[in-house]
Amino acid sequence: MLFNSVEFAIFFPAVVAMYFLSPQRLRVGLLLAASCLFYMAFIPIYILILFVTILIDYVAGIYIEKVEGPKKKAFLVVSIVSTCVVLFIFKYFGFFTSSFEGLAGLFGWPVPHYVVKIILPIGLSFHTFQSLSYVIEVYRGKQRAERDFIVYATYVMFFPQLVAGPIERPQNLLHQFREWHEFDYANVTSGLKRMAWGFFKKLVVADRLALYVNDVYAAPRGHNGLQLTIATFFFAYQIYCDFSGYSDIAIGAAQVLGFRLMENFRTPYYSLSISEFWHRWHISLSTWFKDYLYIPLGGSRVNKSRHIANLLITFGISGLWHGANWTYVWWGLLNGSYLVMGSLTKGWRDRFFGAIGLHERSFIRKATMLLSTFILTCFAWIIFRAHSMGDAVYVATHLFSGWDFGNIKTPQFLLRQMPVALASILALEVGQLLARRKTPFSLLGKMPVPAKWAAYAAFVLLVVMFGVYQNRQFIYFQF
């Protein structure tokens, strides 16, 4: 079920009402049933895949806790491998076979051609990683194995974050299913406000920009440099608003029910370096890779070349997590390279800024760093968004050629859309800046109820009226 659907508008209040009216012993079961319904609204049969991974990791968790020594590790390995096999079959099988065929072709080896057409279960990478984090934490002794199957299944399937995260850790979420959540007005209203902000990002910003981006990136060679530049700039905002909008709705929906999910984004385009960007972008995935891949590889506590290799491996695999396509791998490696270069040139850059009199708190220095970080990020997004590396290279090398100001529109995005698109980006930035300062919202909070309600209702109606409803799926569902 999509958050931006009439069905969800009926489903969510019904679940909230039933949840708060139910006694504690029924609440988890209710959430599980609701989550199943939510997931089955996509492709019902795929719930069986989820059930298999849940069952494997549930049983594995109990045995990992029970036994010691090599057996403990064996159960962990069995659990990880079997969970990853499901992910591999559905997400990467076609990619690996086609890559192998391509490689074999280079050497002239005859290989049979396999065509496997499997629809990727929505959000598979997300709940797979959430399951994996559970068994690993149990193995490390940081989390007790969950004995109640319903509670464990709900942890994996909790509908607000089931299909696109945040990828939760058992220490943060699992215990919350055993807690009694009072109907709390402040919690409910702030959750609803968070959801409204998420809908604004998704419907008003991301989906309108998507109209332009989809047209241009579908056939980059048919567009001029100005269109390629606009599309790339728009994509940076589209993907941010699409994904962080989903996270806002997920976190808000969970909060209405009394649950706390981890933050996933912290205004990443305000970062002053690529390293800071990755500390603010898709935090739940970044920390997952840090805890379960980067640190086990040795992290930064190794020699320099090994450290660089650890970074590139982590980012390369992180790229592959996003999709079964070489463009994602290259995107990951490019970001890893940014970090390596950032580290290697840090001293030089500091000296340069010092030499021209720009101290660390200087506005110009900060602005330069912010802008260069944003440009580097946009450049990486080209690879992420392009259908092939050929397309990515074409876009990257034609951004500044043949600008035609008389030819900006695309078939889906007529010029009348442009002021609305730009205004929505501006509104997003203003909203984010205001939220950092808090004052206007504090003022709003002090207003009398009718004025407050009018302001909130006006915001909701503006989101509804300026929303776009043609490209309804969230980008990250495909991952």
Partner: protein, 373 residues
């Protein structure tokens, strides 16, 4: 480096990721377990909190319905453009003696002013952009429901006449009139979700419309009408010849075959049957089509075979303008299917003269003029 950047290796720093950055409104306060800043006291019990929430959502729902009503009312007040033509029809203000029905080809080919001047009978164009025969029939039925019966219906044919709607083009044009079952029922058949546009406030204006028609509605509510670009339903296209046809030919070098669906034939039979039943003279006209396009239509003969069958079965004259004297001249077309304003003026004069002759001859031997090219 990675320690400083992506994420750090200490658990303290990991947990710092879990801390919210200031966000909108009282979010942090709620997270921190403190009371949110508020001018009004937070409700003391769950019941009063619930009451307050229900109160807010009731206000929001009422506002949504009010806004929806305002937009609908505004669109129905518009006197010009496409909505103006709709409104004249739905308010029963047309009552023309000759009406033209059909797709965008009908809308942009027949100028009722020329037809009226030549024939001495009032005329109106009911052509709808992007419509297939099923929706054209729906529009005719709605017209008959709200207006006096015309003497004559000129139904414009297309090569794709026997293909029914698989999606609704420019859905927003229908939204203010969904209360009318003649419009609503066929739309619902094409798109079962149409009920949402009828009953869920604002749905029809925002979900299926990328043209901000709701803004027209709000402005219309305050008495504003857009520029007058429709004339008694006629939608002239001032644009010169575009490269649409060249692109089409490049992508379809071997031509195309238009679907002939049994349902499409049935809808045409319904249309002919309706006119017969009401005693309305029906005339089928295949208005000019760019000659090069005719060569690319592989099943043209088959389509025309069905036109002739229908014409014979219902005793309807069929006037085919495929070999119109300017059919090979791009000066009179905007693309392969549509005449431009200049071409439409010429064609309207031709068809008006023929209608005049037909009407004049009807009293004596109308059958002589039932020509099938």
């Amino acid at each position: 480096m990675y320690r400083q950047a992506i994420s750090t290796e200490s658990s303290d720093n990991f947990s710092s990721v879990m801390v919210d950055e200031p966000r909108a409104s009282n979010y942090d306060a709620a997270r921190a377990g403190t009371k949110p800043a508020s001018g009004s006291k937070p409700p003391s019990t769950a019941l009063s909190a619930l009451r307050r929430l229900i109160g807010f959502f009731t206000v929001l729902t009422v506002m949504a319905f009010a806004l929806n009503a305002m937009i609908t009312s505004g669109l129905r007040r518009i006197k010009t453009s496409e909505y103006g033509a709709w409104n004249q029809m739905m308010e029963g203000k047309v009552n023309a003696q000759i009406v033209v029905t059909g797709s965008s080809r009908a809308a942009s080919h027949y100028d009722p002013r020329i037809i009226a001047t030549t024939t001495g009978r009032s005329a109106f164009n009911l052509g709808r952009n992007g419509s297939q025969t099923d929706m054209q029939l729906a529009v005719l039925k709605a017209y008959l429901e709200h207006n006096q019966k015309p003497e004559m219906v000129v139904h414009n044919l297309d090569a794709f006449t026997f293909e029914t709607s698989h999606e609704v083009y420019a859905f927003a044009q229908y939204v203010p009139y969904l209360y009318d079952n003649e419009i609503y029922a066929p739309l619902r058949k094409i798109t079962p979700d149409t009920w949402k546009s009828r009953y869920v406030p604002l749905y029809g204006y925002v979900v299926d419309d990328m043209n901000f028609s709701w803004m027209l509605g709000i402005r219309g509510f305050f008495g504003w009408s857009p520029k007058s670009d429709f004339f008694q339903g006629f939608d002239p296209r001032p644009k010169p010849w575009t490269d649409d046809f060249d692109s089409f030919r490049a992508t379809n070098p071997n031509g195309v075959s238009w679907p002939i669906e049994p349902e499409g034939i049935r809808v045409m039979q319904d249309l002919a049957g309706l006119c017969q039943e009401r005693g309305i003279q029906l005339i089928f006209v295949y208005s000019p089509e760019y000659s090069e396009m005719q060569k690319l239509t592989n099943n043209r003969a088959e389509v025309f075979g069905h036109f002739h069958d229908l014409a014979q079965r219902y005793h309807v004259p069929l006037w085919d303008y495929s070999d119109w004297s300017h059919a090979a001249d791009t000066q009179y077309f905007t693309n392969s299917q549509h005449l431009n304003a200049q071409g439409a003026a010429l064609f309207s004069e031709d068809i008006a003269s023929r209608l005049q002759q037909y009407i004049a001859a009807q009293g004596s031997s109308a059958a002589d003029l039932r020509v099938a090219h």
